[in-house]
């Protein structure tokens, strides 16, 4: 049973995809809901309750994190990038391009999280082996592709640099 708690509100300043936002949020609001519900950035998805699937992966201060496992309040003062900010239609991020070229997606639900995770990974390891790519995807689940074309997509992006 939840008990009625006098709800305090937390003021936050968060920069998302280059735009500064000030908001007053419920302490319990998860960052993924701030992005999706408050800002309307619905490219970041929710696929599980257990921090397993990675569909909600974003960049928080440059690092890939699962936005379902961060309270919005914790992100106060942070800079965030979501799938909506990583590339443009004219200038896709190399990882986006790789996913398109190599058929790295089918239904597309896990794809934004995959792309964000892969992009962050390539920042730390620009020339990975296949095994390193597969390990880097440990926290991102795809049920459609069997991963092979995702691996190829990331290899494509790595080659492209």
């Amino acid at each position: 049973m939840s008990t009625a708690v006098a709800q305090s509100v937390v003021p936050v300043d968060i920069t998302v995809n280059g735009v500064e936002h000030h908001a007053e949020v419920e302490p319990r609001q998860l960052l993924v809901h701030f992005l999706r519900e408050t800002l309307g950035l619905t490219g970041t998805h929710v696929g599980c309750d257990t921090s397993s699937c990675g569909a909600c992966t974003i960049h928080l201060d440059g690092n890939a994190v699962k936005s379902c496992t961060v309270f919005t309040a914790q992100a106060d003062g942070s800079t965030i990038m979501t799938i909506e900010g990583i590339g443009t239609e004219e200038h896709l991020h190399p990882v986006q391009e790789g996913f398109w070229e190599e058929h790295g997606l089918q239904c597309g639900y896990c794809t934004p999280g995959m792309i964000m995770a892969a992009a962050a990974f390539l920042e730390t390891n620009p020339d990975p082996t296949e095994a390193e790519i597969r390990h880097a995807l440990e926290g991102n689940l795809c049920r459609c592709t069997g991963y092979q074309n995702i691996v190829k997509a990331i290899q494509y992006a790595a080659k492209k640099g």
Partner: protein, 795 residues
């Protein structure tokens, strides 16, 4: 005069990248959870913690007193809604179909059964309020095992289904004949097979959003459905008793389905009814993963005993199969067809088996409903027959590859009737695929290496697993599958409309729809080549009952073979009219003109051609049409296939098993598939990859598990192991091409082949690795522990 247009590039067979992708890689996809409707309210469901219990009382008042809560209901508030329909009941036998209501009334039959619902301003409040509802239950005894459920003294779920039996079904020879054939066999073997329960796990869970229009009495229902037209029909005609046209169903982008999004679920009519009660406020339900796991359908869950008879040289003479199929707490939409038509009638696999009998008993248990999951019946059948082939090999000493070769249906035998009530297999060259696979993988070298390791006493044992499969796709001729035959409660045709508009830009609407398969790309490739209209000028529209002709939806690898054929036939109709009008414009007779690459010209004079774009303009403006011709290029086809299609192939899996720990490495995976002619190899390759991953995951990782109280022990992605990137091998794909004679493209279907083939390939490889230790059977998932136990027990 429009400038002459060069013939567009040929698109069929090209591995072009998908046109769906730009929106999906940029976060611009529109999945159901992304829809924002003004005034939308959110549902929180109150679910039973007990797998079987009487509902003694429900107190909604604590929830109703909470801020942000708009309403709350129990099942009693929806008694005007009929239980959900049982759309596919097994043919020729009595089906004791008990389907769920939108909310359970009086009694719950599985943990997670919804008993009440709260409606709140946001998701957090809905969750708080659902937790505040007080329900008093009286627990009842529970059964979770599909075989034990039918035994005397088992807890009873439904009065309408004595002994929990949904149906008893059989196919093939009578019992005496099969028993004689087994008695006469030179060699016999038996296997006990558990085809474990799986959880489909599309990464997007399911959901519904409904909006009632009080002015018109119409509903709009957004659903994560593989079959929005069918959902409209079922909800209108069977659940609500209103005309179909009062409901518009829309499937937005769908985040995977694998069968679990075919069915009619409680939340669809529930959101509609609540929207009406609340004066038209949009109502949203979106599962979380836990809810998806406890209350969306599962797959497989068969317990099977097999007896096989063979000659000493490995020819199979008799196959007797007894299966208990657990369909869960209630009858899901098409649950009965899976373990009967799609399983029993495919048990013969690629082989000529003179004597077959299959008995299926389907039962209710206190578990989530079981219905179609990728492959649906065919993976279970392929698993039985492919494990049987290896058992025959072990019993006779004949190599597993040779056992398959000796029993294959031969190319000249097609169309081939297996004698168990399946439609005749359309075409095939099973030995060709096997030979190619064996050569590619280096089968003899692998066998030599396997023996070397055994002889040397090495720690890592090698296992080689074969799976030669055939499956049924492109479902299905209505008169065969329908009520008089296999019991499907409707037709199973497909539709397509093509409009070549004034500018030549073309829109195709189809009853098929994607949930990841790339229909927008493949269908446009097909139509572009046929019509000679540039690919980029053709758009495929789908998934909205208002804007598309009736279609039965996407499942059973039927979109291209049935839906694609409807498009193909509509292009034929367009071309007929284009030729008539083109001849008129060229002042020639229709017999004297030809249509090629989007142009009509008098035979022998291709330079003086009218393009399809010019003809579309003339048809649209209608200034000068031949006598009796209607304006506009607009043609529709409703296509009922004359037969199903039967893709086939051979997959080879090579594993290493650690003798000390039972741990497995997937060393090599080679697939030779024959899916007939291919429109887009990139997409077909992706379908095969994903299918192989799901199938091998059944062999090694996945398995839904309930405790004796009916609690799902694998209730989240931290317990239920769908494969990760490092848990799957590199897939080597190869193919043979045997066009299907059933449809004009010669396509067979590719959506499920990988899943059907890979489970037995991997399982056979694991057993093969340890067979020399005396192991002849391991149940799936073949975890390290199970392999370790099997090795120990045999020693």
């Amino acid at each position: 005069m429009v400038a002459s247009i060069d013939a567009p590039e040929k698109m069929i067979g090209k591995a072009i990248k998908r046109r769906e992708d730009p929106r999906l890689i940029s976060g611009a996809g529109q999945f159901i959870d992304d829809l924002r409707l003004p005034g939308m309210l959110h549902l929180g469901l109150v679910r039973s913690p007990y797998a079987h219990a009487k509902i003694k009382s429900i107190d909604l008042s604590p929830a109703l007193a909470m801020p942000g809560v708009v309403a709350a209901y129990t099942g009693d508030d929806f008694m005007d809604l009929n239980p959900l329909p049982a759309a596919w009941q097994a043919g020729g036998v009595k089906n004791n179909a008990v389907t769920p209501r939108v909310l359970a009334v009086n009694e719950v039959h599985l943990a997670g059964d919804p008993v009440a619902v709260v409606v709140a301003e946001d998701q957090y409040l809905a969750r708080d309020a659902a937790q505040a509802v007080v329900v008093d239950y009286e627990p009842l005894p529970v059964v979770v095992d599909g075989k034990k459920a039918a035994e005397a003294g088992a807890p009873q779920l439904h009065e309408e289904a004595p002994n929990n039996i949904v149906l008893e079904w059989s196919c093939g020879k009578d019992v005496d004949a099969i028993d004689h054939a087994l008695a006469d066999a030179e060699v016999t073997s038996s296997l006990h097979i558990i085809n474990q329960r799986l959880i489909p796990t599309p990464i997007e869970p399911r959901g519904s959003i409904a909006r009632y229009d009080p002015g018109t009495g119409d509903y709009t229902l957004w659903i994560t459905s593989q079959a929005p037209h069918v959902m409209r029909l079922l909800i209108a005609a069977f659940v609500m008793g209103i005309p179909e046209q009062k409901i518009r169903t829309i499937s937005p982008d769908i985040g995977g389905g694998f069968g679990s999004k075919i069915f009619c679920y409680y939340d669809m009519p529930l959101t509609m009814a609540i929207s009406k009660k609340l004066g038209g406020r949009p109502i949203k339900f979106f599962e979380d993963r836990m809810e998806n796991y406890v209350s969306t359908t599962h797959g497989r869950d068969h317990i099977t005993d097999v007896e096989v008879g063979a000659t000493r040289d490995g020819k199979i003479t008799a196959l007797k199969v007894q299966t208990w199929a657990n369909i869960g707490a209630y009858f899901s939409t098409i649950a009965a067809g899976i373990p009967t038509t799609l399983y029993g009638r495919m048990i013969s696999g690629c082989y000529k088996i003179p004597n077959i009998r299959v008995d299926v008993t389907a039962t209710y248990t206190n578990t989530a409903m079981v219905d179609a999951y990728r492959g649906a019946g065919r993976p279970e059948a392929a698993y039985v027959i492919e494990r049987v082939c290896d058992a025959v090999a072990a019993a006779t000493g004949v190599d597993p590859a040779e056992v398959r070769r000796k029993n294959f249906i031969q190319p000249e035998d097609f169309p081939y009737d297996t004698g168990v009530g399946m439609l005749p297999y359309d075409s095939g060259n099973y030995e060709g695929a096997l030979d190619k696979a064996l050569a590619q993988v280096g089968y003899q070298e692998l066998r030599a290496e396997q023996k070397r390791r055994i002889d040397a006493g090495e720690q890592k044992l090698l296992g080689i697993g074969l799976s030669s499969y055939v499956e049924v796709c492109g479902v299905a001729p209505s008169k065969w599958i329908g009520l008089p035959g296999e019991g499907w409660g409707a037709g199973l045709w497909e539709s397509a409309n093509i409009r070549v508009q004034l500018t030549g830009k073309t829109v195709i609407t189809t009853g098929s729809l994607p949930h990841g398969q790339g229909h927008e790309t493949t269908f446009a490739q097909l139509a572009s080549d046929k019509l000679g209209i540039p690919y980029d000028d053709i758009q495929i529209k789908h998934s909205d009952s208002l804007g598309t002709p009736f279609g039965f939806g996407s499942y059973g690898s039927r979109s291209l073979t049935v839906g694609g054929t409807a498009i193909y036939k509509s292009t034929d109709k367009i071309i007929d009219k284009v030729k008539k009008l083109g001849a008129h414009m060229l002042e020639a007779s229709e017999q004297d003109v030809e249509f090629e690459d989007g142009k009509v010209f008098v035979k022998g004079s291709p330079d003086a051609a009218k393009t399809i774009q010019e003809i579309a303009l003339a048809a649209h403006v209608a200034y000068d049409l031949p006598e009796g011709m209607e304006p506009f290029l607009d043609e529709t086809t409703y296509y009922d296939p004359p037969n199903c299609t039967f893709p086939f192939g051979t997959h080879v899996c090579v594993v290493e098993v650690d003798k000390e720990s039972g741990e497995i490495d997937l060393v090599k995976y080679l697939a030779v598939d024959d899916v007939g002619n291919v429109i887009n190899p990139l997409i077909v390759g992706g379908q095969l990859h994903g299918g192989i991953a799901q199938g091998l995951a059944q062999a090694l990782y996945e398995g839904a598990c309930y405790d004796d109280d009916g609690q799902l022990l694998t209730g989240s992605l931290t317990d239920y192991a769908i494969p990760k990137a490092r848990q799957v091998p590199w897939y080597e794909l190869d193919s043979t091409v045997t066009p299907s004679p059933v449809n004009p493209m010669g396509a067979k279907g590719a959506g499920e082949a990988g899943t059907i083939a890979s489970t037995p390939a991997v399982a056979n490889a694991v057993v093969d690795a340890v067979r020399h230790l005396g192991v002849d059977n391991i149940q799936m998932p073949m975890t390290p522990e199970r392999i370790w136990v099997a090795m120990n027990e045999s020693n």
